[in-house]
């Protein structure tokens, strides 16, 4: 609960610090301190970074994670033009509607597909939750459409998870079967194998694909996906607040004038 923060500040002054339960090695570390250029009231997205992040999603994450709420036409928000969107959509295999014989599977049991159109949403890697779990040792890779908003810590948390693999567990820590050690994850045992590697993607703009760079790029893309209207929101916010300040000034003058004779 983010509202608890200011309240906590108030009470930190009058009450002793909250107890830190005997430091437990299964408690997650706080997310890394990292600032993204899209944060803050003036923050906007770097279109090239968004497209690099989309590339990381498409070539790495999308093997397990869906992005159900993003349609191809939405990708105009990360700077693709109509022709690029159409090409991206056409390259995708969308589960087809029943054909003239009413079939959705071919004779080999394969799902019939058709090329996508801009109105289609990005296809999910698994047909349903059970299929997703069956392919991931029982774990369910969450949909990433609002992942940045759905996690306490937001972009910094997702970045910490993605770049937090490969650390040595503290002595005595038990890494469970089919799990991986990630100190930023609740319980520190995460079902997701380390997804990003050096050079996992090849960026067309020449950016070096380090794990850190890939993590930052894909977190930027996922932040955009969580709220594609963020830039519009901030821009309108400035206009609205400037207008309201002007109106407040005028109202104040009116108010003083009306009340002037009353004191």
């Amino acid at each position: 609960m983010r509202i608890a923060l200011p309240l906590a500040v108030v009470f930190a002054l009058v009450v002793p610090a909250l107890a830190d339960d005997a430091a437990n090695t299964t408690d997650p570390l706080p997310p890394k301190e990292v600032a993204f250029p899209f944060q803050g009231p003036f923050g906007t997205y770097d279109r090239e970074q968004l497209q690099r992040g989309f590339q990381v999603y498409k070539e790495v994450c999308s093997a397990c994670h869906s992005l159900n709420r993003i349609a191809y036409h939405d990708l105009d928000g990360i700077g693709f033009d109509a022709a690029q969107i159409k090409a991206l959509a056409a390259a995708a295999k969308i589960p087809a509607e029943p054909n003239d014989k009413g079939e959705t599977y071919d004779s080999d049991g394969q799902r019939l597909t058709r090329p996508g159109i801009p109105a289609d949403t990005l296809p999910a890697p698994f047909a349903n939750e059970k299929a997703a779990r069956a392919n991931n040792n029982g774990a369910l890779p969450p949909d990433l459409s609002v992942i940045v908003k759905a996690r306490e810590g937001g972009a910094a948390y997702v970045y910490s998870i993605l770049s937090g693999f490969g650390q040595k567990p503290p002595p005595g820590f038990h890494v469970l079967a089919n799990k991986y050690y990630n100190p930023y994850f609740a319980g520190r045992n995460i079902s997701m194998p380390p997804p990003l590697t050096e050079g996992a993607v090849t960026y067309s703009d020449g950016t070096t694909a380090s794990v850190d760079q890939e993590a930052k790029d894909v977190v930027t893309f996922l932040s955009w996906a969580s709220e594609p209207k963020m830039e519009e929101r901030k821009r309108m916010g400035f206009e609205v607040i400037l207008f309201l300040l002007a109106l407040a000034g005028l109202l104040y003058l009116s108010y003083r004038r009306v009340w002037r004779d009353m004191h």
């Binding site: 036409h73 109105a119 207008f243 005028l250 109202l251 009116s254 004038r257």
Partner: protein
């Protein structure tokens, strides 16, 4: 208190008028999102053009496709139907305009102006009277009969009899292959 008594009322009025005007403009601007939210959303607009395959339509048959949530009739006309449609005199047409969004507004309603290829009639299947869907291959003119109020259309989708004021509209479309159509 430096202002004179004669100047003061106008200045006072000005401030109130300015405040009221700015507040009214603010309310007016704030109304727009409430109005615009009812317009088609970006998801709906993304469907505004569709590509369809008409290869499976047999001669004398028609298939119905959806475009912008409206039925589009794609009818593969027989030689006889084409000949009938071409033979109609302009004087027999209640609506003399082609109503073809691919042509200028004043194009006459000849059969040629109603189609792209003689074999294929592509029209929006909504009666121009009050929006019902006409029945295929019915009525006196071999084209369509609207079940609601009896409007009758010929094999070029032109109104011939009944209350409908206009010919069935021809949507914007183009052939992008021998049997591939892009509508919208």
């Amino acid at each position: 208190m430096a202002t004179t008594n004669t100047a003061e009322p106008t200045r006072r009025d000005f401030i109130h008028i300015a405040t009221g005007t700015v507040a009214a403009v603010g309310v007016g601007l704030a109304a727009w999102p409430f109005i615009d939210q009812m317009n088609p959303s970006s998801a709906v607009l993304a469907l505004s053009s569709v590509e369809i395959d008409i290869g499976s339509v047999q001669e004398g048959q028609q298939s119905v496709f959806m475009w912008r949530s409206k039925p589009v009739f794609v009818r593969r006309r027989t030689k006889k139907e084409i000949a009938e449609a071409e033979a109609v005199s302009m004087n027999d047409l209640p609506d003399k305009l082609a109503r073809n969004l691919n042509l200028p507004e004043d194009a006459p309603a000849t059969d040629k102006n109603r189609i792209e290829k003689p074999e294929w009639l592509v029209v929006i299947g909504i009666c121009t009277h009050l929006g019902c869907i006409p029945l295929n291959n019915q009525g006196e003119f071999g084209g369509y009969l609207c079940p609601c109020h009896g409007s009758q259309y010929d094999t070029a989708g032109r109104i011939r009899k009944g209350p409908a004021p206009e010919n069935l509209a021809v949507p914007p479309y183009a052939f992008i292959g021998p049997t591939k159509l892009k509508i919208g």
